[in-house]
Subunit: 288 residues, 2 copies
Amino acid sequence: MFYIIGLGLSDEKDITLRGLEAVRSSSRLYLEAYTSILTVRKERLEEFYGKPLILADRDMVETQSDEILRDAHIQDVSLLVVGDPFGATTHTDILLRARALGIPTRVIHNASIMNAIGACGLQLYNFGQTVSLVFFTDTWRPDSFYDRVRENADLGMHTLVLLDIKVKEQSEENLARGRKIYEPPRYMSILQAVTQLAEVEDARRGGVLVPERTLAVALSRVGGGPDDERIVCGTLAQLREQPPEMFGEPLHSLVIVGRRLHHLEAEKQFSLAWRLGMNEICAETAIS
Amino acid sequence: MFYIIGLGLSDEKDITLRGLEAVRSSSRLYLEAYTSILTVRKERLEEFYGKPLILADRDMVETQSDEILRDAHIQDVSLLVVGDPFGATTHTDILLRARALGIPTRVIHNASIMNAIGACGLQLYNFGQTVSLVFFTDTWRPDSFYDRVRENADLGMHTLVLLDIKVKEQSEENLARGRKIYEPPRYMSILQAVTQLAEVEDARRGGVLVPERTLAVALSRVGGGPDDERIVCGTLAQLREQPPEMFGEPLHSLVIVGRRLHHLEAEKQFSLAWRLGMNEICAETAIS
């Protein structure tokens, strides 16, 4: 059997019992580690499982799926992914490849940011399409997400903005020279995201992401428990003015709040962020 | 500590290790059992946990939250919910009530239909707002969901349609007479859903849910494993013509497919449904 197992959002204890059973029965375990991260390292998972993990980077999952699937028709093999297996397209690809090879498959679901974002107090029903915000470079500043946010905003829907992470990236020079030297991992912060959004609003002038007016919720380490998780709401400008430590450790996510926010929901959002001491900000802006 | 623990989608093994730890440390366990169901009964969970469960119906969660939260500042109390704690509004309410009482809280996330729906092969990014379809009665046939599906469809987005369940409902007569006699639980099937959608299209004539043209994916017991889970795609008319056993046991869900379905995704959807022998249907309709 080939398993794809969602690990959930935080640490080694977020796996399900069904997932852990599959881990224990597997001859080989691959850990996919490029679309998201847990708050614990590979070694901690290995210790917890009592088994070694093979790191599967983007290249491996995309081009060496037959090696990952080797012998999975006669023994159990598992691919472990952060969040849920259907957050990223590539997991569908390897699942289809397994089926084409006649290998039985099973997906073991878990929480992902796509549903755990409900922790901010906004109803999941009222979210529109999700967008990604990538690290801008000197030459690459894609802003098509702006049109998606506007489509959602026009209908009053909220938008989940997934913030870029860069794991195992090569510098242009190392890439050009074929040197397998990798940059340290980078995770986009709320502050960087809000700065980029302001830049795009400046260029597009569509009134969709106006710093002084657009309400957003910043989330850090959703599902990480009271010590780790942060939920902060305010206008984009207010979020930008906060000290970096306000938002805690990565991963960060951002929600652009749509106007389909009835009074009750606004109060809840206010309350959910209250413990961070930003109640004045939320009280002023959420119910407007 | 007051815990709200997501149980995931299928059976007793879908709880996370963190969730099970909280169950074990809790003095009282409440099982919320009205917005969704697992495939196993309360007794199976009790045996598995080695502890009794108190059933919490809608009335109890909404009006007796202080009883649920009793002594949670000095001992652990858990509310177990199917899926993820933030699928339904009421869990936010009780969480806020706990905070108002100064009780520490922790949410333990899990998969819900809102993210596990990715199992159908469509990218979660391209889903718009979610709608609910209730059982039509002689006097109550709400169709405002139609406008929401149209909003999504206009932008090319997919729509997740959550199908009604009725648990612990009273007949009008029993309700009027104050008799606490409850009807057997009912779960809306794909066939009933598709029939209701056709009726609304007939009345509204917006071209949004045209039986012969609109492509949909029917899902049963998402996350239930190869023996239980069914994923079937076709036009609404094709789904309506299938024998009921095609769709397996409840719960059922339906996705109205938007046009933002590039060729690759269509192929995947086709492949994901292939094992049900409906490949001809999908091949004809998905890539059009």
